[in-house]
C-alpha cells in the first residue's frame, strides 16, 4: 500500500505551485505514515476504498456549470452570499458575492498572496496532526475559501462544495478558513453535493477560529453521490465565551469520514457538536471526534445518531480529553444508533479521558432496532408497516436534524432521508 503514498507524493510534486503553503504540505508528505488500522484514529475505518484508487488531482475547470445549476442546489435565498467551490476551487462566476458589512470573502489563494488578515493561521490547527490526508490537502490545495466576519451577521452564508469534472477519479482538496472576530456572529451553511454519479474523492480541511464572544452556527449536509469518497477534517478553536454549534449530516458517499477536532483556548466557551449519519447498502460512514478541554469552565455537548441498514457500516469514534487544568468542565457525549438489518454494523467507541478532578462528564451509547411498540401504535392508526417504519426512522433523525436551526436545509435532509428509507422500509 505504500504505492498510495508514492502516488500522493508524485501528485504533490507535479502540482502547480500557486502559494507557499503547499511547500509545507509537501514536506509533511515526506514525513507521514500511511494510515493503517493499527493506528488508534483509523482502527475502525476501512481504508481500502480510498487507498486502492489512484485519484488524479483536480484542476480548475471553467464552463462546466452554469449559475442556474447552483440555484437548484442552494438552500439560502438567491441574493444571499453563496460561495461555490468546484472540486475545491473557488468559482466567483458561480458564486453569489454581494458586498456585506462585516464579511470578507476571498479566494484562499488570493488571501495567501495578499497576506489577508489572519492568513498566517492557515494550517496552524490542522498542522498539529501529522496525517496523510491533511498533508495531501495542504500540498495540493490550489484554492479554497477565506471568510472573515467582524459583525453580527443576520443573513446566513452558504458554501456549496461540488465534485464534478470532465475527468474521472478526481481528487479535490477543498480548504476553508473561517475567522469570526470578537463578539461577531455567523450562520454558515455548508453542502457537499454532486451532479453526476462519478467516482471521485473529496478531501477537505476546514479551520475555524472563534475569537472571544464569537458565535458560529454551522449546519452541514453531505449528500454526495454513492460512488464518492468523502473525507472532511473540521478544526475549531474557541476563545473565551465563544459558542460553536455545529450539526453535520452525512447521508451520501460510498465511504465517508468526518473528523471533528475541537480545542478550547479560553474559559466559559460552549460547544455543541451534533452529527447524524445514514449508512446503507455498501456504505461506510465514520465520525471521529477529538474534543480537547485544556482550560477550565468550558462546556461541550456531543450528540450523534446513526441509522444503518443493508450492509451499511457506521463508525463512531468519539474522544473527549479533559486535561489537568480544565476544572469545572462539563461534557456530555452520546451516540444512539438504529439498526434496520442483521447485516448492518456499527462500531461505537465513546471515550472520556479525564485528568481534572472537579468535572461533570458523561457518555452513553445505544444500539437498537425499530421499537415494536411504536410500530404497532402507528399501524393501529392505519399507517402501513413500511410507512410506519420509515416514519419512526425519520423521527429518530428529525430530533437531531432540528439542531441545524435552518428549516430549508432540514427539509432537504429529511426529504433525502425519506427517499432513501422508503424502499428500505418496504422490504423489512
Amino acid at each position: 500500500m505504500s504505492a498510495a503514498l508514492n502516488h500522493y507524493q508524485a501528485l504533490a510534486a507535479a502540482a502547480p505551485q500557486t502559494h507557499a503553503y503547499q511547500a509545507i504540505g509537501r514536506e509533511r508528505l515526506s514525513l507521514v505514515e500511511l494510515p493503517n488500522r493499527k493506528q488508534e484514529a483509523w482502527r475502525y475505518t476501512p481504508l481500502a476504498p480510498v487507498l486502492d484508487h489512484q485519484f488524479t488531482a483536480a484542476s480548475r475547470e471553467e464552463g462546466l456549470l452554469e449559475p442556474e445549476d447552483i440555484a437548484s442546489l442552494r438552500v439560502t435565498p438567491a441574493d444571499h452570499v453563496c460561495i461555490v467551490l468546484l472540486n475545491g476551487f473557488f468559482m466567483p462566476e458561480l458564486s453569489t458575492l454581494p458586498p456585506q458589512v462585516g464579511l470578507e470573502v476571498l479566494d484562499l489563494e488570493q488571501a495567501i498572496q495578499h497576506s489577508a488578515i489572519g492568513i498566517e493561521r492557515l494550517g496552524s490547527l490542522s498542522g498539529a496532526c501529522l496525517d496523510l490526508f491533511g498533508a495531501v490537502n495542504a500540498a495540493l490545495t490550489g484554492s479554497g475559501a477565506y471568510l472573515r466576519v467582524t459583525e453580527k451577521l443576520t443573513q446566513p452564508v452558504e458554501i456549496i462544495h461540488l465534485n464534478y469534472s470532465f475527468e474521472s477519479e478526481v481528487l479535490s482538496n477543498p480548504r476553508v478558513l473561517v475567522q469570526v472576530a470578537a463578539n461577531a456572529r455567523l450562520n454558515l451553511i455548508e453542502q457537499h453535493a454532486q451532479f453526476a454519479d462519478l467516482l471521485s474523492m473529496s478531501n477537505g480541511v476546514t479551520e475555524i477560529f472563534l475569537s472571544e464572544g464569537a458565535q458560529l452556527l454551522h449546519p452541514r449536509l453531505q449528500h454526495d453521490s454513492v460512488r464518492t469518497r468523502h473525507l472532511s477534517h473540521l478544526y475549531v478553536q474557541q476563545a473565551a465565551t465563544s459558542v460553536y454549534k455545529g450539526t453535520s449530516l452525512a447521508l451520501g458517499s460510498a465511504w465517508s469520514r468526518t473528523e471533528f477536532h475541537l480545542d478550547f483556548v479560553g474559559e466559559h466557551a460552549h460547544c455543541e457538536l451534533n452529527g447524524f449519519y445514514l449508512a446503507g447498502e455498501q456504505q461506510m460512514q465514520a465520525m471521529h471526534l477529538d474534543v480537547l478541554h485544556s482550560v477550565p469552565n468550558c462546556t461541550s455537548r456531543e450528540t450523534f445518531k446513526g441509522i444503518l441498514y443493508g450492509h451499511g457500516k457506521g463508525v463512531f469514534d468519539g474522544n473527549i480529553l479533559v486535561k489537568k487544568d480544565a476544572q469545572k468542565t462539563d461534557a456530555r457525549l452520546s451516540n444512539d444508533n438504529l439498526l434496520l438489518s442483521r447485516e448492518a454494523e456499527i462500531d461505537t467507541k465513546p471515550r472520556l479521558e479525564i485528568y481534572a478532578d472537579d468535572v461533570q462528564c458523561s457518555h452513553g451509547t445505544t444500539v437498537g432496532q425499530i421499537d415494536p411498540e411504536m410500530l404497532f401504535y402507528l399501524r393501529a392508526r392505519g399507517i402501513p408497516k413500511a410507512e410506519a417504519t420509515s416514519l419512526i426512522c425519520q423521527g429518530f433523525a428529525a430530533e437531531l436534524i432540528a439542531h441545524c436551526e435552518y428549516p430549508a436545509l432540514e427539509a432537504k435532509a429529511l426529504s433525502i432521508l425519506q427517499e432513501r428509507l422508503a424502499p428500505v422500509a418496504a422490504k423489512l
Binding site: 392505519g382 402501513p384 423521527g395 428529525a398 430530533e399
Partner: protein, 250 residues
C-alpha cells in the same frame, strides 16, 4: 358488529385469555371491568392486531369478516380503533403530521380522497376545541413528554378524527382529572350512533355515569365471568370482585 367466540390467546407461552366470548351489536356500548392482570388490555391488543399475542383457539368475526386474518393497519382501515392504556411516545414525529398520515392512510384505503394540510388543520382544530385541548400539543412530537392526561386526550382526539366503527377504550379514564373526564366522555358520546359500537374498559363506575353502557361484563382470569346491565357496575363498586370470583370458581 363483533362476535368473539371462545378466544384463547397467549404471550411468550403464557396463556392470558382462556376462552373468552362476547357478542356486540351495532350501536351498543359494552363496558368491561375486572381486576388488574385479568386480560383486559390483552383483549384490546388482540382485537387491534398486536402480532406478539398468539391466538391459540377461538374466532373473532367483525362485520362478517375474520378479524384475526387482518393486519393492524387493515383493521384500522375497517374502522377499528383502540385508545391505548399506555399511549406510545414517538420522538421526532410531529403530532399533526402523524394524525394527518393516519387519517389519510385510512381514507386512501377506503378509496376516499385524502385531505390536504389546510383542510386537515381546519378539521383538527374543531375537534381540538371540542376537547378543550391546547393547540401547542399539535406542534409537539407524538405523546413525547405529554402528561398522562394529555396523552389520553390525544387518544380521544384521534378517535374523534378517525370516527371509528368500533372503538375500544382501554382505561381512557385513568389519569384524567374531573374536567378532562367530562370532556373526554363528551367526545366519546358525540360519536355514539346506531352504526358505531364501543368497548369501554374501566376500573371506575364514574366513567359509566358519563358514558352509559348497554352491557357490563366482568373479565377475570381470562374469561368473562359475569355480564349484566349497568347496575352490575354499581354492584361491583360496592362489593368488589371477590364474590364473583368465588362464584365462578364454584
Amino acid at each position: 358488529m363483533l362476535s368473539i367466540k371462545d378466544l384463547q390467546a397467549s404471550i411468550n407461552g403464557k396463556e392470558i385469555l382462556k376462552g373468552l366470548s362476547l357478542e356486540m351489536g351495532a350501536g351498543e356500548v359494552h363496558a368491561i371491568m375486572g381486576p388488574n392482570g385479568s386480560g383486559k388490555s390483552t383483549l384490546s391488543k388482540v382485537l387491534a392486531g398486536r402480532e406478539e399475542y398468539e391466538v391459540t383457539s377461538g374466532t373473532v368475526t367483525y362485520q362478517g369478516v375474520n378479524l384475526l386474518e387482518l393486519s393492524p393497519e387493515e383493521r384500522a382501515h375497517q374502522g377499528i380503533f383502540m385508545a391505548f392504556q399506555y399511549p406510545v411516545e414517538l420522538p421526532g414525529v410531529n403530532n399533526t403530521y402523524f394524525m394527518q398520515a393516519s387519517l389519510n392512510a385510512i381514507r386512501k384505503a377506503r378509496g376516499e380522497p385524502e385531505l390536504n394540510s389546510l383542510n386537515f388543520m381546519k378539521l383538527v382544530r374543531t375537534k381540538l376545541k371540542a376537547l378543550e385541548m391546547d393547540e401547542s400539543l399539535l406542534k409537539r412530537a407524538v405523546n413525547t413528554g405529554f402528561s398522562g392526561g394529555e396523552m389520553k386526550r390525544n387518544e380521544i382526539l384521534q378517535m374523534t378524527l378517525l370516527e371509528p366503527r368500533l372503538s375500544i377504550l382501554d382505561e381512557t379514564d385513568s389519569g384524567l382529572d374531573i374536567d378532562a373526564l367530562r370532556m373526554v366522555s363528551m367526545g366519546v358520546n358525540s360519536l355514539r350512533s346506531p352504526e358505531r359500537s364501543m368497548l369501554v374498559i374501566t376500573h371506575y363506575q364514574r366513567l359509566l355515569d358519563y358514558i352509559q353502557p348497554d352491557y357490563v361484563h366482568v373479565l377475570s382470569g381470562g374469561r368473562i365471568i359475569r355480564s349484566g346491565d349497568k347496575s352490575l357496575a354499581l354492584e361491583l363498586e360496592e362489593k368488589g370482585y371477590g364474590w364473583l370470583q368465588e362464584e365462578a370458581a364454584a
